[in-house]
Every structure is written in structure tokens, then in C-alpha cells.
Subunit: 239 residues, 2 copies
Amino acid sequence: MSINYKKPSVMVDIAIFTLHEKTLKVLLVKRGIPPFQDHWALPGGGVRVDQEASIFDKTLEDAAKRELLEETGAKTHYLEQLRTYGSDSRDPREWTVSVAYFALLPYAAIQVQSGSDAADARWWSIKDNRVPVQLAFDHQQILHDAIQRLQAKVEYTAIAVHLLPNAFTLTELQRTYEYLLEAKLDKSSFRRRVHNAGIVKIIPGQFREGSNRPAQLYCFAKKTQKNVFFPRSADRNLG
Amino acid sequence: MSINYKKPSVMVDIAIFTLHEKTLKVLLVKRGIPPFQDHWALPGGGVRVDQEASIFDKTLEDAAKRELLEETGAKTHYLEQLRTYGSDSRDPREWTVSVAYFALLPYAAIQVQSGSDAADARWWSIKDNRVPVQLAFDHQQILHDAIQRLQAKVEYTAIAVHLLPNAFTLTELQRTYEYLLEAKLDKSSFRRRVHNAGIVKIIPGQFREGSNRPAQLYCFAKKTQKNVFFPRSADRNLG
DNA sequence: GTAATAGTGTCTCTTAGACAATATGCC
DNA sequence: GGCATATTGTCTAAGAGACACTATTAC
């Protein structure tokens, strides 16, 4: 090991997801410089390890949070390391390592920042586990892995609440799970499990009003026992 | 992003596990050079990205496989990326990134290789999710995370078979699960679930003999549907 | 026969799915 | 009242836990 060998470049890339208009969306930026100029890519950049420089990341997670803030103007809601990609061929220039993260944000929290080194930035809808453009580098692969991870975690954790606004109804939460799992869930069972898992709290006296019976508003109950949602994996009623 | 910024060093470290004498063990090497000289550490080393050099890794996983082979003399049985650790403080010399992997091997497959850059190498028993020495760098943390991942995966996958020899009895498999989960499992339920999950295959006509009824030998049935073991998470009978 | 471990059958209990029934707002 | 959605209750079915039972070897 060490210090004097030739080094790879190290990037941090983030798949930032939100839910808007009943659709899962991911934030992509258009690259302003080669390679892959004018291709869309996950937001990201090099880890800044020079203590003397104006931008300095103490940890990988700091680098990810910095990118997230730069792109969305939002403080971190949910951020998780996905996995690390590294090879001699993923960047035509040289051996690179990309530490990929994925983030979940409520749509309302975000103000997409154009500018910086990205020529453009916008939300792309996800359909069939992908985005309808060719992405730079191996970012289609990273995005695919991120979606897989999200869906896997939706199965057994309360992770989906991070896509919703602070206050939501149980029906809205159920619709979110149904959408992400691509399955219809039974109303009664869903509510039973949500309550048993203790992942949400009633906001006393707050209701969503409409032309019908008002719905109780709930908020995320932070730190339940391990955030486990389903004591059994959900026997889903596919199709 | 790029190419001309100061770069961190990139290492690959591996937590190599096996099961021997009914104990989970991890392979550690004693460091022959500073920093942390004479401390025990996870096997690992720098990723070799110089195409001209005698050792060249095309991917991160190649680097992990190379380390695994160097330390154990065994070809890869089970290898999975754990997570990536990176900060300015985990190595006193500089900003480093360590891509951590974890590997499972049957004890018999391994021939521990002393020498190379490690002064010494040996198995350490794991007790209370740790090893009874101070480790170099943040390796105690990495080891802890690896054990957590292993235990989490034992809950719902067939991963534990990779710790056993090619042929094993269902009782041996059950004892392994009981040991890793720190729980007593019911024989009947366990066998039912193993059979339903289709994770093992009978080896026709092969039995483990003893001073009692011989036990059918089984082998791992590669590639079951997603390798999921427990349709429900095991309601364990703790204590 | 006994001892010891392998392997099976059956009953119960939990919990998710199905779906009916009730509640509460607006018009 | 009628409509729409929220919320609850009840029955059923799948699967795990408990535990007793049978099977097969060595002695």
C-alpha cells in the first residue's frame, strides 16, 4: 500500500430522488465540459482533500452533503451511501473511483440550482427503472442500483416518508408505497402495520380537508426501533 | 471535478470470515511498517492503477480478489462490497479512502499465507462483535460494520452456507444459523423453511456417519430465486 | 434392548389479505 | 339525503413456533 503509487481520482456522485406529481424523479445535470459534454449525469464532483484550498471535505459524507446543498439548496433530509464504483474504463481519461450516494427529499424542500459547473439541471421522471436519456459514464448503472436499493428498502423500512412533505395522510403514504412497490396494498392491513411499526405520529388536531371526510395528518416518528416497517415482508397482491 | 486536484489514496480492505471450531473468525495481518506498526489490521492495500506496473487492477473488485488470493491462497467463494470509508483523519499521513469488502470462506479452503508485506497473519476469534486487540486505522469500525452486515444478511438469506464446507448436514447448517443469530431455532421449522426456500440440494447417497442415525449430506443449490431464505423474518426464540 | 441423533407430523398462534361496515366531511 | 373518502372490524389463510412422534444407526 501507499502513498507513492499512482492514484486514481475519487469522485462523489449522488442520486437525488423526490416525488412530484405522483412520479419518482431524479435530479440530473447537463455536463458543460468533456468527457460526455452535453450528456446528462448524476450531480457529483471530486472529493476536495487539499486542506489549503477554499473548499475542503473532511469526510466522504461531507463531500456528498456539499454536493447536495450546491445542487438543491436543501439541507440533508435522507442521505445514504450506495456503493463504490471503480475501474480503469468508466472514465475515458483515467482510472476513477466514484463513491455513490443516494438522497431522498420532499419536493417542496428543493430549489434546483442551475449554474455552477453544470450547464443545466433538472428533474427527470423515472420510468421502468431508468431515465429516458443516455447518461454520462456508468451513471445509468449507478442510477439503476440506486432505484433497486430504494425499492428494496421500501419493502421493509419507513424510508418512503422522506419523499413526502412533513405532514401527510395515511392514504398519501399508502399511495407512495403502492407506487414505489408497483403493487396494490390493502388499506386495512397497511394502516395496521404502519401503526404497529410506530413509524408515524398523529399531529393532534391537524387534518387535510376536502369535499369529504377530513383525513388525519401524520408526521414521521423519528427513531423507531430500527425503523423496520414490515414484521413480515409484505405479501403483495401484484397485478 | 477533476484530474488536477490533489487526490486521496485509495485502499481496498477485506474482512475475511470463516467458521472454525464453532467460532466465527476473521483473518488479520500484523503490520510490518508504520503507521500502526505491529498493530493488527484487516488485510488490504492500495489499488494498483498504473497500467505499466507489474500489478494492475482493472476494477476495485479485482483488487479485492487479488488481496484475498494473496492472503488466503483461495479463490473467491463469496465476496461482497461492504462500504467505503474516507476522511482526512483515518490515516495520520493523509486523506485516504478505503473501499471495504467482506468475504466468506469455508475453513478448509484456506491456507493462510504469511509473508508478503504482512509480518504475520492469523485467524482471530470474534466475541461480542469484536476482536480482542486494538486494530490499526478505523479497522475496528470496519470489522464491526462487516459483522453487522453478516448478521443482518443471515436473517433473510442463505449466506451462511458459504462458511460451511461443500457438503454439510441440515443440523450443521442449523447450528451455524443459531450461532450467528445468537438464537435457538426450532428443528422442524428450520428444515421446513430451508426446503421451501430451495437453498440446498440433497447429495444423493451421501451421509455423515456417526454412532447414530446417519445424516443426509446437502450442498448449496446455487442461484435460487434471489436467495431469500425467510419468507417472513424469523420470529426468533431469543434467550 | 439403550443411547443418540435424524427426520416428520400436528396443533396453535400470529399476522397479513379480503372485504364489509361505519364515520364524517361537503354539496 | 347522496357522494366521497377516512377509518375500523371481522373472517380467513399462510406460515412459523412448540413439541411430540417415528426412524436408523452403533453399542
